[in-house]
Subunit: 473 residues, 2 copies
């Protein structure tokens, strides 16, 4: 089973060839986005209980690649991420090659510097001149960390004595906030029922007046308001809560102000659009997924804090002297501000990509994505059988299929049938969701390689799928 | 800034050459483990504020590689992981290439199957015939998830109403348990003071009788015992708590029984050594880091549960219908049992490595690592100036430097000075820690490429460093 250096080089060279041809195929317009491979077929190929084929790793890799959803293709509009970042990819390869852990400067000197620099830079973009933070494992984790920090500010004894015996803390988010805010409340012991959902206006923004009412109502009930989570870029409609108004309410009532910018945080890089986040500097914490609108490979989420010392307070614990040794390095050991002990290097991929694009490159790309979203919205509006269902403020275009001579109560079914038809035939991949009781197709323009011609083709495919679905009825 | 397909291929080919030569250099015995690059030098090279060099990504990659600690080298004994997994690496590259997320089967069909298969297989190895689980972000996260599950069993209303108003829950771990158990208690709202540290015997194992006393004591104080965390492979001494005794106590008092097998879980793959984990089947949950003793790239941790339905209960939440659509797939959507929403594919790397090694390959490698630990322990015992400080039961060899004619109160200082001397000169990299008040060098034999000759050379280097340190005094 031992391999010589020559064998290894040969195997890796063959493997890198597979990588290159996968990338090159991905750029052909005729590519299938989601290969039609059945569960049964997959189960036959991918089993551990078959030692006969054990050595044939290259074949398995090729089969994996052949069955994978092409998230790098411009026609992948399905999630809040899309695309392939060449420099991000190189960062991931180097990360795997050097296989280090982020707890100490001694172990990961360069990655520590890169993470610190990125965190500082992004904190400044939010409007935290003395800010900092840490890479976390995703937007959900960032939101949870923010709620934990808020809990610590309002009930610091909870770190030591828990929440039992304290009066209930109450959090506020909008009706359209991401479900991870509720999970965060469950995790940190606040409880989901102690998260109050504030109504949104017609566009989907939190209504600031309603927030104020809800805070007063909680106070009257003897509960302790502590946390407001605004969303900058909601999951379905991509709208931005009014941060200035919310910030001023948080300041009035002395509440922790968190911004879930997992999706929309990257808009801070665009001078044309960063007004959407006006007031971000009033917040105490901010989650930002660079693997979404900045195209970095998953996962690449940064949790930012106006006063990062709170991270030290949350994480300081006894029993870590085997890891963090006294001396000058301890100031540099990022394990001291992380919920994780071992932690993968997530900074390198973003740093390399940023080095390549520069602030200007990101700005240009993001502005183009906004323009493309506007173009897609117009395409929807110009189509007789499509109906735009959201006010397009960023990169989410929500629409419903409403063919002539079809009754309104069939719109939902037809819309999902059209979407599924496209996915089943390997065509453009797009997701669906509900806005109130309307099922909508949610088109996301997040891919840096996306062009108008792709969108033209996407809507052609929608039309074809509509024809198919209607013919089948 | 746009690149043609040809440019991309050229860049990636050059890049893959850097990768190959890094790997080949790493196999030379003369390599430096920790390159001596100062913070100042690094800060000069690695700054985002230098658009002039922005395009020169290849140079930056090479400089990163030149400054990285060689965690793949057999002389990297510093952490509970070491080595380079060729198939794991290929898994990581494919993961980055396909850049998908684990929430739905639709998005990651194969990765979902692989994760399910690995989780089921590993659960069976623990002794959970109907078990399951999920990949998590590390041992700390796995321990936290287990405590959250236990909290849910004993206070299911806490998910909805929080912990405020409930009587305090109390957890029990050994004095030598990992610090993440305390952090978990803080995160989930139990509180660090409600984690009772049970004394250990001379070898470092939790004393079962003392656990029983502590439980009774808590009950007498009106507290509610709910969780016992045993450790299978402690961080410093690598000892295994007596799971059968602890399990029987947990059953007697009806407590959640968690095993932190982050370090030692992989011993289940060895018929010669799995007795160390006898009684694991009595537990309710089990954390297992495959990036440690199985050599998978970081992070690769699995949290296993005897009755995995508890994960559904913890994670079920409203507001997820945009992601998890009704239909047959929903049973396959791993996002339903995960604290994360977006989640990186961590299964592929382990699955490919397992496919290559097979159970037998892992067993052989792990048995060899145990034999090498025994060899290292003997080398320590045979040396007049070294003193073995732990009963070597697995892969941790703790020793102190005790040269002749040096007074006992200088042992700690000399030991750390010798360790630092080796690291500063780029020699074998090994960590130090305290056992009670004794500072010890903790040698870990976790690298599948490790041979006796490496250990011989390691001890030669220790002797050289001792001479240097004594000469300098």
């Amino acid at each position: 089973m031992e391999m010589t250096q020559q064998d290894t080089r040969k195997l890796l060279n063959q493997f890198f060839d597979s990588v290159l041809s996968y990338l090159e195929q991905g750029q052909l317009e005729t590519e299938i986005i989601k290969p039609a491979v059945s569960l049964e077929e997959l189960e036959k190929i991918f089993t551990l209980d078959d030692p006969g084929s054990a050595a044939n790793i290259k074949t398995l890799v090729d089969q994996y690649l052949a069955s994978a959803v092409r998230t790098g293709h411009p026609h992948f509009y399905n999630q809040l991420f899309s695309g392939f970042s060449l420099y991000g990819f190189m960062g991931e390869v180097v990360t795997a090659l050097t296989n280090s852990s982020m707890y100490t400067f001694e172990m990961s000197p360069v990655a520590t510097l890169l993470e610190k620099e990125l965190v500082t830079k992004m904190a400044k973009l939010v409007g935290y001149p003395a800010g900092g933070g840490t890479f976390v494992t995703g937007g959900s984790n960032g939101n949870m960390l923010a709620m934990l920090a808020a809990r610590h500010r309002f009930a610091p004894q909870s770190k030591w004595k828990g929440l039992s015996g304290l009066s209930p803390l109450v959090a506020f988010i909008s009706h359209d906030a991401h479900y991870s805010m509720l999970k965060a409340a469950s995790q940190v012991g606040i409880g989901i029922e102690h998260v109050k959902k504030i109504p949104v206006n017609e566009q989907g923004q939190m209504i600031a007046g309603a927030l104020e009412d809800a805070i007063l109502d909680a106070q009257n009930k003897g509960q302790k308001p502590f946390f407001v989570g605004a969303t900058s870029g909601t999951t379905i409609r991509g709208v931005f809560d009014p941060l200035e108004e919310i910030g001023s309410i948080c300041s009035e009532f002395d509440l922790w102000f968190h911004v879930d910018g997992s999706w929309g945080g990257s808009v801070l890089l665009s001078s044309a659009h960063r007004d959407l986040l006006a007031g971000a500097e009033l917040s105490d914490s901010f989650s930002w997924c660079a693997h979404k609108m900045m195209g970095a490979p998953l996962m690449c989420t940064i949790a930012l804090f106006k006063t990062p010392d709170i991270l030290v307070e949350i994480n300081q614990i006894s029993g870590t002297d085997y890891l963090f040794h006294d001396g000058q390095d301890i100031q540099l050991d990022l394990g001291n501000i992380s919920l994780q002990c071992g932690r993968r290097v997530d900074a390198l991929k973003l740093w390399l990509a940023w080095k390549y694009y520069g602030d200007e490159g990101y700005e240009k790309n993001i502005d183009r994505l906004f323009a493309l979203a506007g173009y897609a919205a117009k395409k929807v509006e110009q189509s007789a059988q499509l109906r735009l269902m959201n006010d397009v403020k960023s990169l989410n275009i929500c629409f419903q299929i409403r063919p002539e001579n079809v009754s309104a109560d069939a719109y939902n079914d037809i819309t999902v049938a059209v979407r599924n038809r496209m996915v089943e035939t390997g065509g453009p991949m797009v997701n669906y969701a509900y806005i109130n009781s309307d099922l909508v197709i949610r088109l996301i323009t997040a891919n840096f390689e996306l062009r108008k011609t792709h969108l033209d083709r996407f809507f052609d495919q929608v039309n074809k799928a509509v024809d198919f679905v209607l013919a089948k009825k």
